[in-house]
Symmetry: C2
Subunit: 415 residues, 2 copies
């Protein structure tokens, strides 16, 4: 894409009303816009990152046998009364229509997915399966001040699995731990993300969170130095050793929850009477698990963890573009022509290139390029033209090298 | 995909509470589920169709220079007060948070996109551009009885274009007529869809709708037999000739509006003071156009127009799968093995195949296959195995032919 055509622009100053690093950088770089506290617009650059994260999660959920659907946001009150959560969930948005019928704006979808699948499940032969969606959630956060990490409106991947018994759920649940670890690895958070034991599980005494260590986190976790898992605050209050290897070497960290998995057992099957007939024709309750990841939260966490004093730093797998082609032409048409030639060649090979074809000072262009955080920056100027080489900078390491055309094309082809 | 793994199932009976053909067929075939009037879940098969429609629209909008973004649903009351629509729009859902702050649930996004782009537009050099989104809209329809044609919650593609003057808008607007015609052509509605003159334009006295002729339509249009455009009811009340060729040969049809384009001029730029500086440094109002398409409405209209007494009929470009591979095995493992071999071969070549690998009677399988409407049905049975040929049926024409493996693979490769 030609940067001169992009309708958004980077800003010199961070917005005064944002305290979170993720929001400050994303707004300055033109990736998101704040409509109100906890409610953001994804601009063209930010949406490209969000879609890359979505596609990685989709591949992994499909790989885990998940079937994608899309459920609505307007949930009839009765469904939420069935589970009792109409009255107990504090952050539920409620909306009435002209006839006075009340709806919840869905903050999660157990109340919708269970009656839905009930229509299709009658026999043990219909189990197991899992279904998921990417969908916009609403939660009435009163103090939304963490940028896109904690929104009043946010896109989540929520998956629900359905099983004939606890053993089948446990096997799936254990597999999903690996699937989740792979998602966080692929989006660039692998190194700092820990499987974290939390309370609230139905079988064992644990449920599991995935926590990424960052000073921006609102949670405290205790990382086991021996086996690379962690426990949360509630668990550490009950025990001082690692639940996985029993080591006592746990150190405290600040972290943010980027995903969670729950063994719901029959918590939602029971109120909706979701049952199946077993081999003997006996009605049995369906056993459930659920698995959530917030897409904006992953995006914001990557900014918190990898962003530096110059701006955003995107891992290649989720970057809005693979390469930022910066021409420093100032009326030199040969430079502009060379830039266009390279842009067309790389684009033709399927490399996603943002071409800064604007007339602006070199210093300003470089500062903006650092702010936007595209993994590779290539400079074409009178100097590089004379030398017959391209100047390449790796945004993450800051390393600069001069390469010829063949080397450049090879670097772009690598994933 | 193996049909035995699909968690949804076709139903023998249409739901009793639906009157619309689109909803009856889509629910029976397991493509959508009704949560409440005007609020539907897209099931795996239905979501595949919706995504195909989305991708066609995305390609065309990107081709028209549109930059994709994603705006939120929670709109602060003040923005809607600025245009006066907080009080005048009857079907606006309103929701309050715990602190009493009021929000609209966005039914359209002029109130959001104009203040958004105002941050980035200052000079004539920043114009023109267009931005669009695929986003979930809310409208408080009191009588939602047209299935997915008219929802209380529905996904829309809404694009907004920004120009320095009327001439530039008119040029873009005229180009968009062609882009829209191509979208309807590609999703399979080309033949029956008419550019329809409606009232409400700012420059000329016209705005434009795209209307698809079907008995399910809620609108009446008058089609010009000479030049293939139409006029709506309001226009025909004022004039009895075609506004395009001045012919008087107009015939009445029932139709559904599948898209619309408006020249907004400065209707929304004015209240938000969206201006730019021209070459002389003088402040000028930005001139706007907007362009909408409802995705569920396209999907439902295709069902209304193409569906027959046996069920759904999908055009190949938006079909959930290209081929329905139906094995009639009843304990014949050679048939099952041959089906699996073909399934793997075609899938490996990127052909989207739904393989009915379930144990069921042939008649039931054929009826369900017709109901689901996948363009090509291939039957593998003892008979076809003996003959060394495959039986292929074209769902739309009902034509059956026997082909060998090479011919079959060639048919699948054709788009």
């Amino acid at each position: 894409m030609r940067q001169s055509k992009l309708f958004t622009k980077a800003r010199k100053e961070a917005p005064a009303d944002e305290v979170a690093k993720n929001a400050k950088l994303l707004i300055r770089a033109g990736f998101v816009d704040k409509l109100q506290a906890g409610v953001y617009t994804y601009l063209p650059l930010g949406l490209r990152v969000l879609k890359n994260i979505e596609n990685i999660i989709r591949e992994e959920m499909n790989g885990a046998g998940g079937q994608e659907i899309l459920m609505p946001s307007l949930h009839p009150k009765e469904f939420w009364q069935t589970t009792g959560r109409w009255d107990t969930m504090d952050d539920l948005y409620k909306v009435s229509d002209a006839s006075g019928r009340e709806n919840a704006l869905g903050p999660t979808h157990e109340e919708i997915v269970v009656p839905l699948v009930k229509q299709f499940v009658s026999s043990y032969r219909d189990l197991p399966f899992a279904t998921y969606q990417f969908q916009n959630k609403f939660r009435m956060e009163l103090r939304a001040k963490s940028g896109i990490l904690r929104g009043r409106e946010f896109i989540m991947k929520d998956m629900y699995s359905f099983h004939r018994d606890e053993a089948d759920l446990v096997a799936y649940y254990e597999m999903m731990k690996g699937v989740y670890a792979r998602v966080f690895e692929r989006v660039g958070l692998g190194e700092r993300t820990y499987l974290t034991f939390a309370s609230g599980g139905s079988f064992s005494k644990y449920s599991h969170e995935f926590q990424t260590v960052t000073p921006a986190g609102e949670d405290t976790i205790y990382v086991c130095d021996t086996c690379r898992v962690a426990v949360n605050k509630e668990i550490i209050a009950d025990q001082s050793t690692c639940p996985s290897c029993e080591s006592g070497d746990l150190h405290e960290e600040t972290a943010i929850e980027v995903g969670n998995i729950f063994d719901l057992k029959t918590k939602f099957s029971d109120p909706f009477k979701l049952t199946y007939k077993d081999e003997e024709g006996k009605e049995q309750p369906v056993v459930m698990g659920c698995y959530g990841i917030g897409l904006g939260r992953i995006l914001g966490t990557v900014v918190e963890v990898l962003g530096d004093d110059k701006g955003l730093v995107w891992p290649r797998a989720i970057a809005p573009f693979a390469m930022h082609l910066v021409e420093i032409s100032s009326a030199n048409t040969a430079v502009h022509e060379e830039a266009e030639k390279l842009y067309r060649e790389l684009s033709g090979q399927g490399v996603e290139v943002l071409w800064d074809d604007r007339e602006a000072r070199a210093g300003e262009k470089f500062a903006e390029s650092d702010l936007m955080g595209i993994p590779l920056r290539v400079v074409i100027s009178e100097k590089t033209l004379t030398e017959g080489k391209f100047e390449i900078k790796d945004r993450a390491t800051g390393e600069v090298s001069m390469v010829n055309r063949a080397e450049l094309i090879k670097m772009c082809a690598m994933k």
